[in-house]
Amino acid sequence: MFTAGIDVGAKAIKVVVLKDGAVAVRRLGLTGFEPRESTLKVFEQALREAGISRKELAFVVATGGGRKEVDFADGEITEVGGAAKGSVFCFPTAKTVIDVGAEEGRGIRCDSAGKVVDFEINEKCAAGAGAFTEAMSRALEMPIEEFGALSLKSTQAIPMNAQCAVFAESEVVSLIHAKTPKADIARAVHDAVASRIVSMVRKVGVEKDVVLIGGVARNVGFIDAMNRSLGFDVIVADDPEYIGALGAALVAHESVSHGRKS
């Protein structure tokens, strides 16, 4: 029995197809300017990879900020709902989930069934999410992966005064003119975002095990900064950007298993 979860994010669309409740396919595509078209494209690619047609999908659940674009979905779930569900599936001992995407950062407390107990969101401000590190990596003219890795080579912490991505970009340019080592700049940038995310998560309370998901969890510099800010190492999910879609797919599976759709 096949079910699917579709996570329409600000930057990328993630699709997870489950076969009898186990992951069969994961696919990702950029959202771009036409989210509806991009969603269909990634969805159809996933179906092809799974070797099934749409009719063979028993249930589809949509999630993410753009979930309304998935007009063929059978159900929907909030981002925090999908994040909690997917994280606990992968890590049954997870009590706190930190989900950092391109435009939003979320702190979630969950129970052992993957239900959301409490949550807090950093939204509508680029400084509190992945858009911040991405903007700075552009200012330094290097790919985000390189930028993150470079931050690990920093030899000293430097202060970052700007709390806005636009002002921080100007500050980074000034630091470059002042010949500040790029590795130190990179670390300051990652520390700044991590500090904002951790402050936000502390509002819901940090209880171990803490799992980090979302596209920004692929950034090694960000993970390091998070660990230092929290004072311990977070568990980083494999394929972290898919966990929301996985959660949605699991909800789809449960809906069928519990007979919510014939």
């Binding site: 300017f33 435009e103 509508k124 401000c125 680029a126 858009a131 903007a135 709390q163 806005c164 991505a165 636009v166 002002f167 100007s170 000034s174 003119h177 002042a178």
Partner: protein, 289 residues
């Protein structure tokens, strides 16, 4: 990007009719902002000379350049100025100043000079901040709110849009007013997200001027909500670089349902002018003691 759409004209000015050598009090104020710097020189409390330029990567150097440019052609040297007050973000950026005073106090004082003692609410829309100030008839601050954390509602935010749309920043306001029907404002407050939204609108076939109108409208609304937190007490006046953007100003005044006072002085020098007035008062106080 070869053209620099964010670039605006730098300039200096002086009043040839004033002779500083006649023994009057020569005072100066230097306002080093994140984006622009101004230096104002007064003789006996009358505006004598000033400069307005972009702040460089080194603030103390910018402060020196600003005062040098204001002094150009006057025959003045720093030693001829009786008292200098420094202001702007950071405040320690004017090493040759005798004292530093906050930009809030300086803008209130300068606004009072430029707009007269009836002004009670001053809105300063600067390069990297937005200030709302209440003052009394002497230009003393009775309430203030400054937002320098977020680029929305600041000159830098507007520069990002001018750059995206490839429109020289000094033309943004007028072009935004040339649209027939007022569009929905851009929905994101955040400049980074608003920029993506604007790019998407352009792809959908929106005209540049309409996108400019949508952004000016969003900026005006945001500034209005900031001001409303303080309340607008008449008379109301606007200073700072964005005061010259008719597209934002008109929409702002429409939303607030209030008129703003006019002035013959350059709206970008309010901070430096206030600082120069403080300098004169401090010099006279020190002579009296």
């Amino acid at each position: 990007m070869t053209a620099e759409y964010w670039r605006w004209k730098e300039y200096n000015w002086r009043d040839e009719a004033i002779e500083w050598r006649n023994g009057g009090v020569v005072s100066a104020g230097v306002d080093v902002g994140s984006v622009s710097s101004q230096a104002v020189i007064m003789v006996d409390g009358k505006l004598y000379a000033y400069s307005n330029m972009r702040t460089g990567s080194d603030s103390p150097v910018s402060a020196q350049k600003a005062i040098d440019w204001a002094m150009e052609g006057t025959g003045l040297g720093l030693k001829d100025i009786h008292f200098i007050v420094g202001t702007g973000y950071g405040r320690v950026n004017v090493p040759f100043a005798h004292k530093s005073i906050t930009e809030i106090a300086c803008h209130a004082r300068g606004g009072n000079f430029m707009y007269g003692p009836r002004v009670r609410t001053i809105l300063d829309m600067g390069g990297q901040d937005c200030k709302a100030i209440h003052c009394d008839e002497r230009g003393k601050v009775t309430a203030f709110l400054m937002n320098d954390k977020c680029a929305a509602g600041t000159g830098r935010g507007m520069e990002v849009f001018a750059d995206l749309l490839q429109v020289p920043i000094e033309e943004v306001g007028d072009l935004s007013l040339s649209v027939g029907e007022e569009p929905e404002p851009v929905s994101s407050t955040c400049v980074i997200f608003a920029k993506s939204e604007a790019a998407s609108l352009l792809r959908k076939g929106w005209e540049k001027n309409t996108v400019l109108a949508a952004y000016c409208s969003a900026m005006a609304h945001r500034v209005a909500t900031l001001l409303e937190r303080l309340g607008v007490q008449k008379e109301f006046a606007i200073t700072g670089g964005i005061a010259k953007n008719r597209g934002v100003v008109k929409r702002l005044l429409d939303e607030l349902k209030v008129e703003s006072l006019t002035t013959t002085y350059d709206q970008q020098i309010a901070g430096a002018l206030g600082a120069a007035l403080f300098a004169k008062a401090l010099h006279e106080k020190s002579k009296a003691n």
